[in-house]
């Protein structure tokens, strides 16, 4: 998610803008327009808070850090999956109503808040980290920075679930029972590529976690606020491991003579 171009100049004295916010719950809902005075430097989350404080005390919204670090404030702004706290108003066309609605891939709870509990259940199904025995004299391990750079990229994930929201396998085809989604492919990759990890997850990825459903559209990578190269760095290498392990007899033979992780 880039810092973006300034589209609307907001004068120091502020200006009016209309926010068209989805209000409702799992049974019914509609868009409601709120007109507020916005100031330079404001982000969408500020606008939502202003509406909550001045016009709709009961407007439901999730947030914590206001600095793009906790991944709570995910929503769709003018149809784009974004962190509301990192979306500046001057990047939007304020001559039009700004449309703010909840993520669509998850059930609605109320207003902008969705039920993301499925994600927590999915994580439990992935085999946890299992380190090899410590092998340094002080009873710990040695790892070089070069060897952990890739894993650190994956571990930047703030679990905003925006990638889950845009993935068509979940959003349009509702394969929540068969496919763990890009966030958990990144999570699996972080474990699989962890220099200390000794667990095997490739079989699960193929059989239980539905990695085959991903057809590398890269929509997930485009929305990741942490700029994690989800497809190229995580999913494709995992797919290669699946191929290696299940479809390629030569590498499979090799594997017998070689430890799983160098």
């Amino acid at each position: 998610m880039s810092s973006g171009k300034v589209i609307t100049h907001i004068p120091e004295s502020g200006r009016d803008a209309i926010f068209r916010v989805w209000r409702g719950d799992s049974t019914a809902g509609q868009f409601v327009d709120y007109k507020i005075r916005v100031q330079p430097g404001m982000v969408v989350l500020d606008a939502i808070h202003q509406i909550q404080a001045e016009q709709a005390n009961d407007l439901a919204v999730r947030w914590n850090c206001k600095a793009g670090k906790c991944g709570s404030c995910s929503a769709e702004v003018n149809g784009m999956p974004r962190l509301m706290c990192m979306t500046r108003l001057d990047m939007l066309d304020l001559d039009m109503p700004v449309i703010v609605e909840p993520m669509k891939a998850f059930p609605s709870i109320r207003d902008l808040v969705t039920d993301v509990s499925w994600n927590y259940a999915v994580k439990k199904r992935i085999r946890p980290f299992r380190p090899r025995k410590p092998d340094a004299p002080d009873g710990t391990w040695r790892m070089q920075q070069d060897d952990v750079d890739r894993v650190q990229e994956f571990r930047k994930c703030i679990e905003c679930f925006l990638c889950q929201d845009v993935c068509h396998v979940l959003r349009d085809h509702h394969k929540h029972d068969e496919f763990i989604g890009p966030r958990f492919l990144v999570y699996s990759a972080a474990l699989e590529m962890h220099p200390l990890d000794a667990e095997h997850r490739v079989g699960d990825l193929k059989n239980e976690h539905g990695i085959g459903y991903c057809n590398i559209t890269k929509c997930c990578t485009k929305v990741c606020p942490e700029h994690i190269t989800i497809t190229d760095n995580a999913i494709i290498p995992l797919k290669e491991r699946v191929v290696d392990e299940f479809y390629d007899p030569v590498t499979r033979l090799f594997r017998i003579f070689r430890p799983k992780k160098a």
Partner: protein, 608 residues
């Protein structure tokens, strides 16, 4: 939905930041049926925002480091009001707790020889902070979260605890009552022991780095249950928060920026931190720019640049520059890392690697590219050293069955916390709290709270909903409180604080009367109405303790008493408790005499 759902556990942990999750893991590992309750989703607690690192004397980057030096640094930073037993345990146990995180999957930045890399931070003599770029808190909380979900702990997310259960004030805590934020469903947890790990109080202040969760719930729950709070006057203002744009005012700029060589300048371009170096830090602080830079690059013969002095001091220096009219356009000063271009070839890549989220935060929120231009920064309320008074070994409060760990507990940091000492605090004392809470529950069994206690707790919780519509809303009262607390800010003075106390008293009836109609399902108005009581309790404890301490020490700076007064004020902690008449009482609790061997450690390290 007039009824409630009942649960039974041996240990209930309130709060799922670093301290709470670590406590839950430990309690569950020792066989206790454990619940973990938090206001946000799991993994979103305040800990996730921590940036710079966690302090542990592993001596990877400088083999002169040891628990003794860490202990002495912590005591000096806390101006010797610390609970020395906690400072000792913390310094001794932090390295083991950090290595344990690595064994649970954490991936810290590495040294050249492949060990956990440690960085410089204010007040730490040697590079001591294990870190991951500038997102150490995320690494900590995610590691604990991913570890804990496989441990059979019952997690209640987006659930707020609103009252503790006990038969009478001061008697053993028997559980708690709370509500599901989404639905408004009430819950009752019966428990053998309760651990508070609720974090801090920042939302009582106008400019703060803290999130909405920081309404002082744990401090206030403990106080109203009859437990003692301690050191509440000591509130840390972080020197570097964002100052522009207005909507992000207060958001933290990590001290790691200065650890990586960032310098502070006023509008005349002067590195003003060289102008005022306190005497007790003179021997360990560089007196010229060149030496400061050599320190940053790891030259062991060089002394620290003055930008890395303790937070209270740096914050006041910035305050002074701004007041004297030497500040930046938006009322801060300049923090510059872009100057590294004169020192290294690829400074841009270096800064982006070492401070990625700072780069991201400034380019996105302020339109400032920190590799090319300086940031504007100013002080922001950041942390409270004060909290529930606990036993150093077990973390039990002065009320049986009630434990506290992390920011909500007092003692480790004394009058001022060193950066990085909080994350290590969470894992050291989170573990201890979990362990001893489980033991307490096992040994003392789990008697049940009576119906009267439950009814009373439920009534308090539902009260704001029952008040007639059309009265004042809770947000207005919260804003008013934040204004009032400007009088108990970074520079304090008798008359302003007296006014603040009056202001708080005047807000109490308004908070008790404000209405929050619209039902129980996800109703932030209701939630805020309940939080107000907590915020007011904490604000009052802060103001009343601060006005009684007629000296300047650590985080407390009094314009009317600018000097430290060891003879009259260096011998006790302030303790706050609820009197039998319901009024707040502040009293003095003499410091426990320090053990001889520890006294010697302090002496040995005094002048280095």
């Amino acid at each position: 939905m007039s009824d409630w759902v009942t649960h039974e556990h041996d240990v209930v942990v309130i709060g799922a930041g670093g301290a709470g999750i670590r406590a839950a893991i430990e309690a569950s590992a020792s066989g206790a049926r454990t619940a973990l309750i938090c206001k946000s989703l799991l993994g979103k607690a305040h800990t996730v925002m921590a940036e710079g690192g966690m302090a542990a004397a592993m001596a990877h980057n400088d083999d002169r480091d040891s628990w003794k030096v860490h202990f002495a640094d912590t005591m000096r930073g806390g101006q010797y009001l610390n609970n020395w037993r906690m400072a000792e345990l913390h310094a001794k146990e932090a390295p083991e707790r950090v290595r344990e995180l690595e064994a649970w999957g954490a991936v810290f930045d590495r040294t050249k020889d492949g060990r956990i890399n440690q960085r410089n931070f204010g007040g730490h003599r040697f590079p001591r902070l294990a870190h991951v770029g500038d997102r150490t808190g995320l690494e900590l909380i995610r590691t604990l979260q991913d570890h804990c979900v496989h441990k059979g702990i019952d997690v209640y997310m987006e659930t707020t605890v609103s009252a503790l259960l006990q038969d009478s004030p001061g008697s053993r805590v028997l559980g708690c009552v709370g509500y599901d934020r989404q639905t408004g469903q009430l819950h009752v947890w019966h428990a053998g022991a309760v651990v508070l790990a609720t974090g801090g109080v920042g939302k009582a202040f106008k400019v703060t780095s803290n999130s909405w969760e920081y309404t002082g719930d744990g401090h206030s729950l403990a106080y109203h249950a009859g437990a003692e709070l301690m050191d509440m006057e000591f509130v840390q203002f972080h020197p570097t928060g964002m100052v522009w744009p207005p909507s992000v005012r207060g958001i933290l700029v990590t001290e790691g920026v200065r650890g990586e060589g960032g310098v502070l300048r006023n509008k005349e371009g002067r590195r003003f931190m060289f102008d005022d170096i306190p005497d007790n830090y003179k021997p360990s602080t560089a007196d010229n720019e060149d030496e400061g830079w050599r320190y940053v690059t790891g030259d062991k013969s060089a002394r620290r640049p003055p930008e890395l002095l303790t937070r209270d001091h740096v914050a006041r220096c910035i305050n002074r520059e701004v007041k004297a009219g030497r500040g930046s356009p938006h009322g801060g000063v300049f923090l510059d890392v872009s100057w590294l271009k004169s020192k290294m070839k690829d400074h841009e890549a270096h800064i982006k690697k070492k401070l990625p989220s700072m780069y991201h935060q400034f380019i996105t929120l302020a339109g400032v590219d920190i590799t090319r231009e300086p940031m504007e920064v100013g002080p922001t309320m950041h942390y409270i050293m004060g909290g529930v008074r606990v036993d150093g070994d077990t973390q039990m409060s002065s009320v049986d069955g009630l434990f506290a760990a992390g920011e909500v507990a007092a003692g480790l940091h004394g009058a001022n916390r060193l950066g990085g000492n909080s994350l290590s605090d969470l894992i050291v004392f989170g573990k201890r709290a979990g362990e001893f809470a489980a033991r307490f529950a096992r040994e003392k069994g789990a008697p049940r709270a009576g119906n009267a206690a439950i009814d009373a707790a439920v009534r308090t919780t539902l009260e704001p909903l029952a008040r007639p519509d059309g009265r004042e809303g809770p947000y207005q009262v919260q804003y008013a409180l934040q204004e009032v607390m400007q009088g108990v800010g970074i520079v304090r003075e008798e008359k302003e604080m007296a006014q603040a106390i009056e202001g708080i008293e005047a807000l109490k009836p308004r908070a008790a009367a404000c209405s929050a109609p619209k039902g129980r399902a996800y109703n932030p108005g209701w939630h805020t109405a309940l939080d107000l009581r907590h915020m007011l309790t904490c604000a009052e404890a802060i103001a009343r303790s601060a006005i009684e301490r007629k000296e300047s020490r650590g985080a407390q700076f009094r314009e009317d008493f600018p000097k430290k007064d060891d003879a009259n004020f260096g011998t006790f902690n302030h303790v706050v408790r609820k009197g039998s008449d319901g009024r707040m009482q502040v009293s003095r609790r003499p410091l426990a005499p320090i053990r001889d061997d520890l006294k010697q450690v302090i002496e040995e390290n005094k002048n280095i």
